[in-house]
């Protein structure tokens, strides 16, 4: 007996409620955008500049005591958070101390870090500093810029690739779905105020890749079925294609999620934000390739009447042999 995530034959009508799905997507995007405008992102030091110190002590973390020790130094905005993780032993009480970039300093000063460390050692002699990271404001500004360019470039490159391989309507559908995924992911980071750092950009771009992967597989089937069912309407062809690929879509999403959830639970707190972004991205990416990309394609329509025989008949790679 085989494990099956979806029945052998499915004939869901994915477009019966397309207005509702687009409405939900639009609403989620508005919420994401509003949240982004109102409370912004909780930028990590990569993008904002400043210093994070990770401390570990056999004694429980007392944020008040830590704060009292550091406040005397007058460093402006200092955030202290205790880190919990199931993989920590009882002797591991970890805190993250974040200090804003100091005014008028382009570079990072060793004295500042030493001062903070000494102040903490004074109240907790057994404390250890297991990582210290400082980013100067000059670099952090550049990092924001490069990150934004990277995301835009990736989306642009993908737009061109799909346009070359398919039709422009497919490219538009795929890119709208992509932008949808990126906005919703940034939205989640804003709403939950999860720290947004350089690694999250990597996650965002992976989501771009993953969501596309899904969309392209569906579109590939649409293109094939458009030739196969010349008499059927576009919405019927789209429905057939999504149903046919549904089993694969679910399989891949589930295996990927399986791997990511293992990493989320067991991979330690250092990369948890990063993995969370990817889990969210896989779910949203799967949803968007079915409900957003295809609906856009349906709305834009596709040129079906090719007077000349299609040069891509069968498919372009069909002659590659093992």
């Amino acid at each position: 007996m085989r494990l099956r995530l979806v029945p052998k034959e499915t004939s869901f009508d994915f477009f019966k409620r397309w207005k509702m799905w687009l409405g939900i997507s639009a609403l989620m995007m508005i919420v994401a955008f509003a949240s982004f405008m109102i409370q912004g992102l909780n930028f990590g030091i990569d993008f904002r500049g400043g210093t994070t110190i990770r401390s570990e002590s056999p004694l429980p973390v007392d944020i008040g005591v830590y704060r009292g020790a550091i406040d005397e130094l007058g460093l402006g905005d200092v955030t202290i958070t205790e880190v919990f993780d199931p993989t920590f032993g009882p002797e591991q009480n970890v805190a993250m101390i974040r200090i804003q970039a100091q005014d008028g300093q382009e570079a990072v000063t060793a004295e500042l870090i030493a001062d903070v460390e000494n102040a903490l050692i004074a109240v907790r002699p057994d404390i250890k500093f297991i990582s210290v990271e400082s980013v100067g404001p000059k670099v952090s500004g550049e990092l924001v810029q490069t990150a934004a360019i990277a995301v835009l470039l990736a989306i642009g490159a993908v737009l061109i690739y799909i346009w070359l391989r398919f039709e422009w309507q497919f490219a538009v559908g795929a890119v709208v779905a992509l932008v949808h995924d990126v906005i919703l992911t940034i939205g989640v980071f804003s709403e939950l105020q999860i720290r947004f750092d350089l690694a999250i950009i990597a996650a965002l771009l992976t989501i771009v890749g993953y969501s596309l992967n899904d969309t392209v597989v569906v579109f590939d089937r649409v293109r094939e079925n458009l030739r196969k069912y010349k008499q059927k309407s576009l919405s019927e062809v789209l429905n057939i294609s999504i149903n046919e690929t549904l089993s694969r879509t679910m399989m891949t999403s589930v295996t990927t999620l399986l791997a990511l959830i293992a990493l989320f639970v067991l991979g330690g707190d250092v990369i948890r934000g990063f993995v969370f972004a990817m889990i969210w991205g896989v779910i949203i990416g799967t949803y968007s390739s079915v409900f957003v990309a295809s609906t856009i394609l349906l709305y834009l329509g596709v040129k079906r009447d090719w007077s000349k025989p299609d040069a891509n008949a069968g498919n372009q790679y069909a002659n590659i042999d093992a």
Partner: protein
């Protein structure tokens, strides 16, 4: 039908075996690492029995390339430094004054007296007594210019000379600035490398980034500030004539002079001439030693031209104080007692033994041509790195196991084929990572885990296709063939788009992002390879042997 040529089969298996062999050393990481270290040590300093023993823990004929572990996994310090290139322009201009003065001196009849004027950093202003003699003065000063070799054109010289009223302004030309920048960066890299090598840690990364930055990563070092002590000191040593000493840091030093604090006497300031007599660049050796009173000191020796300048100056200025300046602080200012001809001397100050040793190391390794600003520094403790490796390992194993079970349950025998291919796939990724000497970071592990999830996608696409083709009942062989054929375009399109994003990540990203991009990109290449060649070959081989009438996928 399902024929694959023998030579193709052999090639595919050879690829897999080569990849797995290359990946194998990573399974015995510490053992191979100590073997590699020992081999490197033997090459450097000859064999000893201990080193031979350490080298023999891993056979020489086996591949021994390892995946580099990033700092987030191994622990260590990371520094991004920006070189203050303008420092060099300024010191070039400071050193220009005696040259200009000496060149104009014989022309006193036409140009009148020559006085240095206050100027911005990186330029020099000289007022001449007779404004009418400007043409001649400019000609003489321009005569000091030296040609700069450039790609763009001939005739470029190193300085720009112009006149404003009776003032001559000299700056470095754009062409010279460009070539100076290049030289400064090369020199800085070289000197940082020398200093880190003197301290002796394993495989530091010292890379130039962009026009004016240097990235330094040293695994295993306890903190970035320790690293900064070693490379953050410019160690610019100069010997300058002393004009006066006093206690007011804001006094007007007079043109061509500067006020510098004393290193060991609080509140003491020296006014010295900006243009040095000799600089540390002319040192050939520096060693820690002791002065006649038994206090720690550093003894040094000049090269021939330095020794001559030093000798001439001391002969002419017996009885005047002479400042030994290290990084804009006066270490000491002894009065010249007698002519010092041999070109060797001793620097005394209130050093501890450690300080004199460090200073000797820094002077020997050479001065950085310009100061460094640290833009970014990260220290990751080794415990955190080990925790991350452990967590990553467990997560990978669990993720891997989950996917294997899930695939076997979903596709039966074909799922097992896909699983074997998946294991080969992971081996190939590690093999390739070792081969290209890429660095594995924590996000890189996430990239591998993601690959595990996505690698099955290509197989899933094929298997789902075969299932569909089976419904139209064309017979198993035909279904398998069509399944592979029809899934191919979806596999390629889907993976090429993801590959594009990983390339963009690699080009634009730095540090952890880049580590992630490498594993993701390589993972895509290997998973496409295993899905369309390896599983297919396994399916074909199984089919040839069994010739089943029906198959179940």
């Amino acid at each position: 039908m399902l024929q694959i040529d023998l030579w193709k089969r052999i090639t595919i298996w050879l690829f897999c075996i080569a990849g797995l062999l290359l990946a194998l050393p990573n399974g015995f990481y510490t053992r191979v690492e100590s073997h590699n270290d020992a081999v490197a040590a033997i090459e450097l300093q000859g064999a000893t029995p201990e080193l031979e023993a350490a080298a023999s823990v891993w056979p020489d004929w086996m591949p021994s390339a390892l995946v580099n572990l990033g700092l987030d996994l191994r622990g260590g310090a990371h520094l991004l430094a920006e070189v203050r290139l303008e420092d060099v322009y300024a010191s070039r201009m400071d050193a220009m004054w005696p040259e200009i003065r000496d060149a104009l001196r014989p022309e006193r009849a036409t140009v009148g007296g020559v006085r240095q004027q206050p100027s911005e950093r990186g330029e020099i202003r000289v007022r001449i007594g007779e404004a009418d003699g400007m043409a001649r003065a400019l000609e003489v000063v321009r005569g000091l210019a030296r040609p700069v070799p450039t790609l763009s054109g001939v005739g470029a010289t190193d300085i720009d000379v112009r006149a404003e009223g009776d003032v001559i302004i000299v700056t470095l030309s754009e062409a010279e600035k460009l070539s100076t920048d290049e030289r400064t960066m090369q020199q800085s890299l070289e000197i940082i490398r020398n200093r880190i090598d003197e301290v002796g840690t394993r495989e530091p990364t010292i890379q130039r980034q962009g026009a004016e930055r240097i990235l330094i990563q040293v695994p295993g070092i306890g903190s970035a500030s320790e690293l900064k002590d070693i490379i953050g000191t410019t160690a610019q040593l100069t010997f300058n004539p002393v004009v006066s000493r006093g206690s007011n840091p804001d006094a007007s030093p007079g043109i061509g002079n500067k006020i510098l604090p004393s290193l060991d006497e609080e509140g003491q300031y020296y006014t010295v001439e900006s243009a040095p007599v000799v600089t540390g660049e002319e040192l050939v050796d520096a060693q820690p030693s002791f002065d006649q009173n038994g206090n720690p000191a550093v003894s040094f020796r000049f090269n021939t031209s330095g020794a001559r300048k030093f000798g001439d100056y001391t002969a002419e200025n017996i009885g005047s104080p002479f400042a030994i300046i290290l990084d804009d602080e006066v270490v000491s200012a002894p009065v010249i007692q007698s002519h010092i001809p041999g070109g060797s001397g001793i620097i005394t100050g209130r050093f501890s033994v450690e300080e004199s040793t460090t200073l000797a190391v820094l002077l020997r390794a050479g001065a950085l041509p310009a100061g460094l600003d640290f833009l970014e520094e990260r220290t990751i403790g080794p415990e955190l790195g080990q925790d991350s490796i452990d967590a990553g390992k467990i997560a990978t194993v669990v993720a891997f196991g989950g996917v294997l079970v899930f695939m076997a349950l979903s596709y039966g025998l074909f799922g097992l084929f896909a699983n074997v291919a998946l294991i080969i796939n992971i081996g190939l990724i590690f093999g390739l990572l070792s081969l290209v000497g890429a660095t594995l970071t924590l996000p890189g592990i996430a990239g591998i885990v993601l690959t595990v999830g996505m690698a099955v996608d290509a197989n899933v696409l094929v298997f789902e296709r075969i299932r569909e083709e089976l419904k139209t009942a064309r017979g198993p062989a035909r279904a398998i063939e069509l399944g592979y054929e029809k899934a191919l375009s979806a596999i390629l399109d889907a993976n090429i788009t993801t590959f594009i994003t990983s390339v963009i990540l690699f080009v634009m990203g730095s540090g952890p992002v880049r580590g992630f991009a490498i594993t993701l990109g390589l993972g895509i290449l290997t998973s496409v390879f295993t899905a369309i060649f390896v599983t297919r070959l396994m399916v074909v081989m199984w089919f040839e042997r069994r010739r089943p009438k029906t198959i179940e996928v």
